[in-house]
């Protein structure tokens, strides 16, 4: 499959060595989360006009995130401080052919929001000292990395002829649903020479999507349906013992 795609790219009129310095696309722009979902792989493939570095940034839908810190109160660990960040990407992964600091100067990475160190989070509420805010920010990134929702990876690219590449984007089971963007940067001599953005949509599908949709859209009806389902199972389970 992948070989076939690469072959197709190779034969694409005006691909390698032509006017376009970068052509890339995903094998699929839609990931369906179904009942047996344990994560998904999406393959990105592309061609460049000359050997160069590639950076891929995958960004999930923007949400709020509340970070809480526990401290010991009367012998119990309880949440005592919290910071709400607005405009936090729910998923963020960076893949690069070589370590980021070797490819691109820091100012450029900050400008294009590339790398976890440069991740732009919205304002934190309530206001905390810069030092404390940084601790909460670090905690958010640490937690998301542990959940596999934030990642920074070097290598992982399969390169052919120095000009064709493909990369597997691996999404974990707990991947948030919504609209994603996949940005592909072509970097040469510390400068971005070409960039491309590809959309990706991750959504629940089948029964799960219907349950989730039902629960959010008509919460009251869903509540009654859940009760009816449970009562029915309870009643059915008592039937074989009616005459006991």
């Amino acid at each position: 499959m992948r070989q076939a795609l690469l072959l197709l790219l190779l034969l694409w009129p005006g691909s390698a060595g032509a006017a376009e310095p970068l052509i890339a696309d995903l094998t699929s722009h839609f990931v369906a989360i179904t009942t047996g979902f344990t994560g998904a792989d999406v393959v990105l493939f592309g061609a460049t006009d000359a050997p160069s570095d590639v950076i891929v940034v995958v960004r999930g839908p923007i949400r709020d995130a509340v970070v809480r810190r526990k401290s010991k109160v009367a012998g119990l660990w309880m949440n005592t401080r919290e910071v709400t960040f607005t405009g936090v990407p729910s998923y963020y992964a960076v893949y690069s052919t070589r370590p980021l600091d070797e490819i691109m100067p820091p100012a450029m990475r900050t400008l294009h929001d590339i790398g976890l160190a440069n991740l732009r989070l919205g304002v934190g509420r309530p206001d905390r000292s810069a030092q404390e805010a940084a601790l909460f920010r670090d905690a958010l990134i640490r937690q998301r990395r542990q959940q596999g929702l934030y990642a920074e990876a070097t290598g992982g690219f399969n390169v052919l002829n120095g000009e064709l590449f493909h990369l597997t984007l691996a999404f974990p089971a707990a991947v948030p649903t919504g609209n994603y963007t996949v940005q592909i940067f072509l970097v040469r001599g510390q400068r971005i020479v070409a960039a491309q953005t590809s959309p990706l949509y991750i959504s629940q599908a089948g029964i799960d999507a219907e349950v989730d949709d039902f629960a959010r859209r008509s919460a009251l009806g869903y509540g009654f349906a859940a009760v009816a389902m449970a009562a029915l199972v309870g009643w059915l389970s008592s039937l074989p013992f009616r005459h006991a």
């Binding site: 009942t35 979902f37 344990t38 995130a65 970070v67 949440n79 905690a139 958010l140 089971a173 449970a230």
Partner: protein
């Protein structure tokens, strides 16, 4: 084989869930308890978010208590009049409980409250049961000792709004079952339990109901309290995972039947001591989690869209 839980937004091994439901159903078959009080902490241990664990347990309790109540109804062991008065209190209590739940969730203290409530309740319950069953095993109880007087007058009998409950042969103030129902309704909403383990002793010792009608009446009113908690949690907190509840129920159906058969093979006080140790172990785990230095003092929550 993994199954994706749409509201919890996570994958869980379906066999783990079936086993969990089966184990809790087995216990309820053996001991005649609802088992909700073990289900919620166990779901939390396997990583289901606290809020979803509580709300989905309430949903599971509906099914489990329908099955139980039907068996008692066929034997005529339900005091419907008492159940209705308890229910009026129970509905008010569950509404209050769900609002408290939503408030605690907003200020970030829901996990602590649930764990703490469970630690206290299971710790107390486990100790009492262990003490009682070891006394029974040591045969310290003389024959005939501990028989209650048929009727004892306390200040509780001086309360106004007296009502006659024919099936239970009682003439007591309606305020008693109303407030009992309210209290258990709050517990049910905050902890996702049916509350049978509080309701049953209170019915016997506080209300003075005859033992024969206690389990049936308790189960019957639990159906409706748990149902109202499920609906209110769905509306207020979108935290009821019906897929999770269904898998747990299916496991529970099988477990309950096995448990009922197994229960007749073992001696009562040994069974109760076993259950007591199990309950204490769960309480101890909760206490450790609350008091030991957490691996990471920071936690992250992403409010739903």
């Amino acid at each position: 084989m993994d199954i994706y839980l749409p509201i919890a937004a996570m994958s869980q091994d379906v066999f783990v869930l079936l086993t969990l439901g089966g184990a809790v159903g087995f216990l309820s078959g053996v001991f005649g308890v609802g088992g909700g009080f073990l289900l919620t902490p166990l779901l939390i241990f396997i990583g289901v978010p606290h809020a979803v664990a509580v709300a989905s347990s309430a949903n599971q309790v509906v099914g489990a208590s329908v099955a139980g109540a039907l068996a008692h109804w066929r034997r005529g062991n339900i005091d419907f009049q008492m159940a209705i008065v308890l229910l009026i209190g129970g509905f008010a209590g569950s509404a209050a409980g769900v609002s408290i739940f939503a408030l605690l969730r907003r200020i970030g203290q829901i996990d602590l409250t649930i764990s703490l409530a469970y630690a206290v309740l299971l710790g107390t319950l486990g100790s009492l049961m262990l003490a009682e069953s070891s006394r029974a095993m040591l045969r310290l109880r003389g024959a005939g000792a501990g028989r209650r007087k048929l009727h004892q007058h306390t200040w509780l009998h001086g309360l106004p709004f007296k009502m006659r409950f024919r099936r239970s042969k009682l003439y007591i103030s309606a305020l008693l079952p109303l407030s009992l129902g309210f209290f258990v309704g709050v517990l049910s909403a905050v902890m996702g339990v049916g509350g049978g383990f509080v309701m049953v002793p209170a019915m016997i010792y506080l209300l003075g109901m005859p033992t024969a009608v206690v389990p049936g009446t308790s189960l019957f009113q639990i159906i409706f309290v748990a149902a109202s908690v499920t609906v209110l949690q769905a509306v207020e907190n979108t935290s009821v995972d019906a897929v999770l509840a269904l898998v747990l129920l299916l496991g529970g159906v099988i477990g309950a039947q096995l448990g009922t058969r197994f229960g007749t093979l073992l001696r009562g006080e040994q069974l109760r001591a076993l259950l007591a140790l199990l309950v204490l172990a769960v309480a101890a785990k909760l206490v450790f989690d609350l008091t030991l230095h957490p691996a990471d003092p920071y936690s992250l929550e992403t409010p739903g869209p």
